[in-house]
């Protein structure tokens, strides 16, 4: 089994490219599970973070520091009664969350966690991503319509208008990044996600810094548009609780509602992945040009282990700071076990990082590299996730007309200008 | 099993085309008629792509992209007309739209 695993981790091809359907399937499952897990932890993290932003504690009771809260919530939602409103279009009502979920998860087929760590490397990867993720809006619209209720309908209308509008600016920003991939000696760019990261690798610069400030502006446009695209604060008009109760999913409850949530968070992760891939060098570690050499490689390869160590340390600090009372005993033990788990992972990573250095070691260095790729990719995505939470805690909601104005009259011209400027600069420099 | 040839695609496209035509000719709802037009255009696209495959060049695909653009334009303009019309007459039924009758 380790051989089998390591042989794949060391491969230079994605399963899709290799035609290895078994591994493709494994990947699909891993990603599905991983995304679900990530969504759950995001749920916990968002509640805790928001609480701390507002000087509250957030969930504390279910598990140590509310760590088990997502699980409890999941159980609650699964057990809840599935209500379908009386005048609703039952079939559409039923199918709507599935559409959203499908769109959100299908995207993950092409997200490159590493040069070979993707289900498949599609030739039209970015196009595929944009297309499929834009299908998500159908779920929202249809859900709002099928509920046969006013708030959801308005939410759906808003959402569809908003997402279609921001897709334009987003697409143009993406195109300017794609344009940068063609700045090589052959002059051909690529739509492949892996190809885009490779292009950044070859040009030795993340596209966010390319043609400064053009890349940066395109990135900012994308970063704004992607918040709108995922219906998150401050662009969460489709589910504005103070105006529309809960927007398009007002009439949903239980499992269907949780599917919507799952889709939303999955979509957040996927658009963040696009941003990371297009502008932030994907799986590349920072300063890969500037800080080169084996010493720096070693230092950077220690980062995953260090991160987990840090997390474990945080957990242990939590253990220490718990009140010395008997009713906290279970929690204390639970947190300690969690800490040990993290520590164990950190240890494993450390071993791999150090042992993977020497040639002919038990663990090939490619494994170490792959872990590094995945780590850096996920770290960058995690930063975006945190930003999403931060936005939500910081900014008030836009008014709808303002939102549309920003989309059409600010972002669209800017992204168009950046696109044209990128093209001109690219031609001038080549 | 018979290998899939161009003809298969053509038959599928023909079916889609005819269904589109039926939609255009029989339905009263203007929205559905517009959707039927989209069907027709898709049938054409399918033909083009199939022929492109058949001849081993990409001209058909390029044309299908043009047609896609055309379809988008048509949808935008058509729906615009529809909304304008709905605003004035409170209906989207084509047999109630006869302003052009001399």
């Amino acid at each position: 089994m380790p051989d089998f695993v390591t042989s794949y981790l060391g491969s230079t091809l994605t399963p899709g490219e290799a035609g290895n359907q078994f591994w493709a399937l494994v990947y699909v499952f891993v990603i599905f599970a991983g995304v679900s897990l990530a969504v759950m932890s995001m749920n916990w993290l968002e509640r805790k973070a928001l609480a701390h932003f507002q000087i509250r504690l957030g969930p504390m009771r279910t598990g140590p520091h509310g760590l088990l809260q997502p699980i409890a919530d999941a159980i609650k939602l699964l057990l809840k009664e599935d209500i379908i409103p009386a005048g609703a279009d039952r079939f559409v009502f039923w199918v709507a969350p599935l559409i959203g979920l499908l769109a959100a998860f299908t995207v993950y087929t092409v997200i490159p966690f590493g040069p070979s760590q993707a289900v498949s490397d599609m030739n039209i990867g970015i196009l595929f991503m944009l297309g499929v993720s834009s299908l998500g809006v159908l779920g929202v619209v249809v859900a709002g319509w099928a509920s046969n209720s006013n708030y959801p309908l308005i939410g759906a209308l808003r959402s569809s208008a908003q997402m279609v509008s921001y897709e334009v600016a987003m697409g143009l920003a993406v195109v300017s990044a794609i344009l940068m991939t063609s700045l090589n000696e052959t002059g051909t760019g690529t739509l492949s996600m892996i190809g885009i990261v490779r292009a950044q690798q070859e040009q030795g610069v993340w596209f966010i810094f390319k043609f400064f400030p053009l890349g940066l502006i395109a990135f900012i446009v994308f970063a704004i548009a992607m918040v709108a695209e995922t219906n998150r604060a401050p662009f969460d008009m489709a589910e504005a609780e103070s105006e529309l109760t809960a927007g398009y999913h007002t009439e949903y409850s239980g499992l269907r509602w949780s599917l919507f949530m799952l889709a939303e968070y999955a979509a957040m992760i996927s658009v963040s992945s696009i941003a990371v891939t297009l502008w932030l060098g994907g799986w590349m570690r920072p300063f890969s040009r500037l800080l080169r050499g084996s010493a720096w490689d070693l230092i950077f390869s220690l980062f995953p282990a260090v991160t987990f160590m840090g997390l474990a340390a945080v957990a242990f600090v939590g253990v220490v700071r718990m009140p010395r009372r008997s009713d906290f005993k279970v929690q204390k033990i639970g947190l300690a076990v969690f800490g040990w788990l993290l520590g164990f992972i950190a240890l494993m990573l450390l071993i791999i990082a150090i042992a993977g250095r020497s040639n002919g070691a038990a663990i090939p260095s490619t494994v170490n590299q792959s872990i590094g790729y995945i780590y850096w990719f996920l770290l960058k995505v995690a930063v975006f996730m945190y930003l999403f939470i931060w936005y939500r805690a910081t900014w008030p909601r836009y008014r709808f007309d303002q939102l549309m104005r920003v989309g059409w009259k600010v972002l669209l011209p800017i992204s168009l200008t950046v696109l044209v400027a990128t093209a001109i600069v690219g031609i001038l420099l080549s | 099993m018979v290998p899939i040839s161009t003809l298969h695609y053509l038959i599928v496209a023909a079916a889609l085309f005819v269904l589109g035509v039926v939609g255009v000719l029989t339905r009263r709802n203007l929205v559905v008629i517009l959707m039927s037009i989209e069907l027709i255009l898709n049938a054409v696209n399918l033909n083009l792509v199939a022929f492109s495959r058949m001849w081993g060049n990409l001209h058909g695909q390029v044309f299908s992209i043009f047609i896609t653009a055309d379809a988008a334009a048509e949808a935008a303009a058509g729906l615009g007309i529809l909304i304008a019309f709905f605003r004035n007459k409170e209906t989207v039924n084509v047999d109630e739209i006869d302003l052009l009758k001399w």
Partner: protein, 708 residues
Amino acid sequence: MLFLNHVYLLPIVPAVGAAVMFFFGRRLRKIAIDTVCIGVIVVAFLFACVTVAEYSSFAHGTGQAFEKIVYTWLGSGDAQLASAMNGGAHQTFNADAGFLLDPLSCVWLLFVTGVGLLIHIYSTGYMAHEGGYYRFFGYMNLFMFFMLTLILANNYMMMFVGWEGVGLSSYLLIGFYFHRHSASSAANKAFIVNRIGDVGFVLGALTLFYYLGSFRFTDINALARSGRFSIGDPVLSAAALLLFVGACGKSAQLPLYVWLPDAMEGPTPVSALIHAATMVTAGVYMVARSNAIFVLAPGAMKTVAIVGALTAIFAASMALVQNDIKRVLAYSTISQLGYMFLALGVGAFAAGVFHVFTHAFFKALLFLGSGSIIQAMSGEQDMRNMGGLKDKIPTTHWTMFVGTLAIAGIFPFAGFFSKDAILWQTWTSEGGAYRILWFVGYATAMMTAFYMFRLMYLTFYSRVRMSPAIRDKVHGLSKSMTAPLVILALCSLGAGWLSWPQSLGGSARFEHFVEPVFAHEAVVLEHAGKSGQVSAGEKEAQHTDKAEYLLMILSLAAGAAGWGVAHNAYRNAGKDYAEPIAQKLPRLYGLLYNKWFVDETYDYVFTGRRKLGNVTLGALGVGEAASWFDTKIVDSAINDVGWVTRAASTLSAWFDRWIVDGLAVRGIAYLTLPFAYVARLFEWGLVQWYALIMVAGLIGFGVYYVWK
């Protein structure tokens, strides 16, 4: 040689002061303004002294010119601009920003910076309570810049820079009290009259350039002295006359003198510096500079002499009866300038220059003294309201007395020597008709003594005629004002000794110093058989005879006579004193008092500011006529053409509407109507029907195509 090599920096020094005033003056306090503006003049003066010293060691008394060309100013300098059209002759339109130092410019350099410095110092007291203090000193420094440029120029164009520039500064300073209409009018008058002269200057310079191929003094002099031109060469004569027109403008000679009396509207230090000591002598300087040309043009020389003599006596006559203290001095200045031109005209260049030199001191002194009086009298300028100031302002009194003695030509004051030299040279030049010029000069000297002592008596000695309010306010003056007076008085006394005539046992050092500049002219003139017009130094050797002593005594007598007449008439002048001329020749008095009605005539004839009945003559009249011609003839012709066009188009519009459009176009439209009724039967208006027909067509086409 350090300073000599960088002599171009000399004008820049005051320009720096002017620039500082221009940009920051408004925000500076008085002490800062004084420091900067006086400072730059002190520097300039020291610079000038050192430069002159260095020059004399450079030239060793040979009068060799020192030239420094900084860059090419006009013309590219690298190529022959005019060459293509002028038969390939080596002629480049070229004027350098170049500087030249020879004895002549040294003289001017020293007294301009020296007198300028004194007047600047005086001004700090005089202008202390005036608004626009910084502006005044900025303009003064600007004037110094342009004056030094004028002096140091090595070609006519560069000289013209200073020439126009001093005109500009003069304009600005005359108009210093710009809220007074009279001041701004006087400023305009000064500038425009000067401009007329400037045109002459420019045309003269262009003539020289075209004829001789250069603007540079050294080139021109070398050519003129080469002997290739006969005396009386017409082109050179024309050029000399044109240049003299320029000199007339700047140095206030007939007929362009009218601006100078009006220029007294400016602050008194300005009158002292610009309109007495320095700027107005620029014309003399220029003629002296161009002496090589002038000696080849005897006609022009004669003109200069005659104009100078006429101006001298004409201006003196007007000075006899003026009541404004500054106006008296202004006419006196014009008169003295006439003297200088008289000297130049008779070939006594050195004497003329020497008179400029001495005149600078005593006239500056007199003006500053009059300024002190005005200051003490709280702005009163009319001598009829003065009198008995001797004890109130003693320093002013005795310094002015020295000045008066000097201008009146009393031995041993400066004026005696210079004036005597001029008169004697006039007497000894060609003789004949030239003797008349001597009589004119002599009469002028007498008149000068009269009006100057008239001034002295009316202000200092006679009875007190001012109102009691003013009398109580009369006060002594600050050191900054009296010190320059004292220094100038000493100079007025001693400046003449520089050229103590050989006939009185002197060595005529001044003449020897400037002589090299003019020496060649003497030679030329001698060769031409005009023995009279040789420079003073040479003449000393030849003609030390009794005539000279006689003339000296005569001129002393003239001064004494003038003094005596004035003493009699004004010694006890009370409130209702009588002018002797008015009593004896009332008509002449009226004429003189109204300055021969010259200003009025000019206004009628040349400017058109006064109307002759209903008719405006002069520039304004012609301008109005031209304006009328422009609107009524030229422009209305254009408008008439427009009217004709419109008429034609109205006609064609009618044709278009009723014939082309009506008959042809609409007629055809009506013809098509019946067909339209048939065609519209095919319109259902239902979209699905149209679609159906389309499908039918498609089927038909397909059937035809498949079963063809």
